[in-house]
C-alpha cells in the first residue's frame, strides 16, 4: 500500500504563485458563447400569427396579439421574468421569426415593469397600448386565463 501524505502539495504550491481562478464579475467579463440563450428577439416581418410559439411555451411568457391578421399586424408581449430561456418557441417557429440573443442576458431589474416587453412595429405597439388604456379593464393574468 502506498503511504503518502500531502498529495495535493504540488497543487497548492502552484496556486501560491498564481492568480486566483475566480473571475471578478462584473469587473471582469468574458464574451458569452454564441449559443447562450438570453432575451427573446422577434422579427415581426415574417410572423403569420400562428401562435405555435405561445402554445408550447412552458411558462406562458409569450403572447401574440393580433391587431389585423390580413395586414400582418401583430404585437408580441414578452414576459422576460417568466421566460425559462428553453428555446422551444424558436424550435417551433416555422418562419424563423424568433431567436434568443446571446448578448442581452443581464436582465435583472428592481421592479417588474422592465420585464414586460412589447415587440413589434412602433405603430402597432401604439395601437395596442391605446386599446389597453381604452378598455381600462385590468388585463387578465395569462397564467390564470
Amino acid at each position: 500500500m502506498n503511504f503518502q501524505v500531502a498529495t495535493m502539495l504540488s497543487d497548492i504550491l502552484k496556486s501560491l504563485f498564481k492568480r486566483p481562478i475566480t473571475e471578478n464579475y462584473p469587473y471582469e467579463r468574458r464574451s458569452t458563447p454564441d449559443r447562450l440563450r438570453g432575451q427573446l428577439a422577434w422579427n415581426p416581418e415574417k410572423c403569420t400569427g400562428c401562435n405555435l410559439c405561445s402554445k408550447d411555451c412552458p411558462s406562458n411568457a409569450i403572447e401574440v396579439i393580433t391587431i389585423d391578421r390580413k395586414a400582418k399586424r401583430f404585437v408580441m408581449e414578452y414576459h422576460a421574468d417568466r421566460c425559462t430561456y428553453c428555446a422551444q418557441c424558436v424550435q417551433n417557429c416555422r418562419f424563423d421569426c424568433l431567436s434568443l440573443s446571446h448578448e442581452h442576458w443581464e436582465l435583472a431589474a428592481l421592479s417588474k415593469q422592465p420585464f414586460n416587453m412589447y415587440y413589434g412595429k412602433a405603430e402597432d405597439v401604439q395601437t395596442h397600448r391605446k386599446k389597453l388604456a381604452e378598455s381600462k379593464m385590468p388585463k387578465p393574468d395569462p397564467v390564470t386565463a
Binding site: V5, M8, P20
Partner: protein, 306 residues
C-alpha cells in the same frame, strides 16, 4: 505617570486593543493564504473585523434552561485569559510587559483556560451539537495539551529558565528549529489543535456538528470567543517564533517570523482531510512519544550545549 504607563500597555499597546487588531489581521492573512492555496480570492482585509463588529452589535439570545451568567460570563473569561496571556509574551519584539520566573507555565495555563471555557460554554447549553462539540473540545484539549506543553518546555530546558524573556534572549543566539525539529513541528501542530484549525477541526466540524460548542452563541458571546481565538493565534505564533525561530528582538523580526509561520500553518491547513476525534487523539499520543525521545536525547547530550 507610573500608573498611566501600565494602563496604556494593558489597554492599547502592545497588549489590549493592539493585540486584538493584530489577531484579526492575522486571521485575515490566514484565510487569505488558505484561499490562495486553494486558487480562490478569499475575503477582503476587513472581513474578520467586520464580522466581529457585526456580531457585537447583534442581540445575544440566551437559551432557556441554562445558567445565564455562565453563558454570558464564559466568553468574557476566554477573552480575558487570552489577553492576559498576551501580556507575558514578547509582542512586536518588545520585552514582555510583565515577566517573572515561571511565566511560561502561566501563559500555557491561561491559553488552556480559553479552550476550557469554550468546552464549558458548550456543555452549559442543552444543544446536542454543543454537547458533542464540548466533549470533543475536551478530548482534543487532553490529547494535544501534553505534547504542546512538552514542545514549549524543550527550549525552556536548554535555556535553563521558565521565564519567556530569558528563553527569548537565549534563543536569540540559537535557532532551536535546527536542534529540536520535532519540538518545532509538534508546537506548530499543537497550535493548530489549540485553535481548532483544519485538519484538527473535529470539535467544530461544520458538516457534522454545525459549530460545535459555540452553536448556541449568536451575538456578543460569539464575537468575544472569536476575539479570544484571534489573540490566542498571535500569542501562539509569537511563542513559537520566539522559542524555535531564533527569538524575537525587534518588530521586523516579529512580523517576518510570525507571518512565515502563518504561511506554513495555512499550507498545513489546506493539505489534509479532517481527522476524526479518535484519530486526533492517536496522532497526539505518537507526537508525545516522539517528544519524550527528543527530551531524552537533549538530556543525554547535556542540554545546554545545544
Amino acid at each position: 505617570m507610573e500608573i498611566i504607563q501600565p494602563i496604556i500597555t494593558l489597554l492599547f499597546f502592545p497588549a489590549g486593543l493592539f493585540v486584538m487588531g493584530n489577531g484579526l489581521a492575522y486571521l485575515w492573512v490566514d484565510r487569505k493564504l488558505v484561499a490562495q492555496y486553494q486558487n480562490r480570492i478569499g475575503p477582503r482585509w476587513f472581513q474578520p473585523l467586520a464580522d466581529v463588529v457585526k456580531l457585537l452589535s447583534k442581540e445575544e439570545i440566551v437559551p432557556t434552561g441554562i445558567e445565564a451568567w455562565l453563558f454570558n460570563g464564559l466568553p468574557l473569561l476566554a477573552l480575558a485569559c487570552a489577553l492576559t496571556a498576551a501580556v507575558y509574551v514578547p509582542l512586536v519584539g518588545l520585552q514582555p510587559a510583565w515577566s517573572f520566573q515561571g511565566d511560561l507555565i502561566v501563559t500555557v495555563y491561561l491559553l488552556s483556560v480559553v479552550t476550557m471555557s469554550l468546552a464549558l460554554a458548550g456543555a452549559n447549553t442543552a444543544n446536542r451539537f454543543s454537547l458533542i462539540g464540548a466533549v470533543r473540545t475536551l478530548t482534543q484539549l487532553f490529547s494535544y495539551e501534553a505534547p504542546f506543553m512538552l514542545a514549549l518546555l524543550g527550549p525552556a530546558l536548554v535555556a535553563g529558565s521558565w521565564q519567556i524573556s530569558t528563553i527569548n534572549a537565549f534563543t536569540g543566539q540559537h535557532w532551536l528549529i535546527l536542534t529540536q525539529p520535532i519540538g518545532c513541528v509538534v508546537a506548530l501542530v499543537g497550535l493548530m489543535g489549540k485553535l481548532e484549525l483544519p485538519p484538527f477541526d473535529a470539535p467544530e466540524a461544520e458538516t457534522e456538528i454545525v459549530k460545535g460548542a459555540l452553536t448556541e452563541y449568536g451575538g456578543r458571546g460569539l464575537a468575544l470567543f472569536q476575539l479570544a481565538k484571534a489573540v490566542e493565534l498571535v500569542v501562539g505564533l509569537t511563542l513559537i517564533a520566539a522559542f524555535y525561530l531564533g527569538g524575537i528582538g525587534n518588530p521586523i523580526e516579529f512580523f517576518v517570523k510570525t507571518l512565515a509561520i502563518l504561511l506554513v500553518l495555512a499550507g498545513l491547513q489546506s493539505l489534509f482531510a479532517r481527522f476524526r476525534i479518535e484519530q486526533t487523539a492517536k496522532w497526539w499520543r505518537f507526537a508525545a512519544l516522539l517528544l519524550l525521545v527528543q527530551w531524552l536525547i537533549i538530556a543525554l547530550l547535556g542540554g545546554k550545549t545545544l
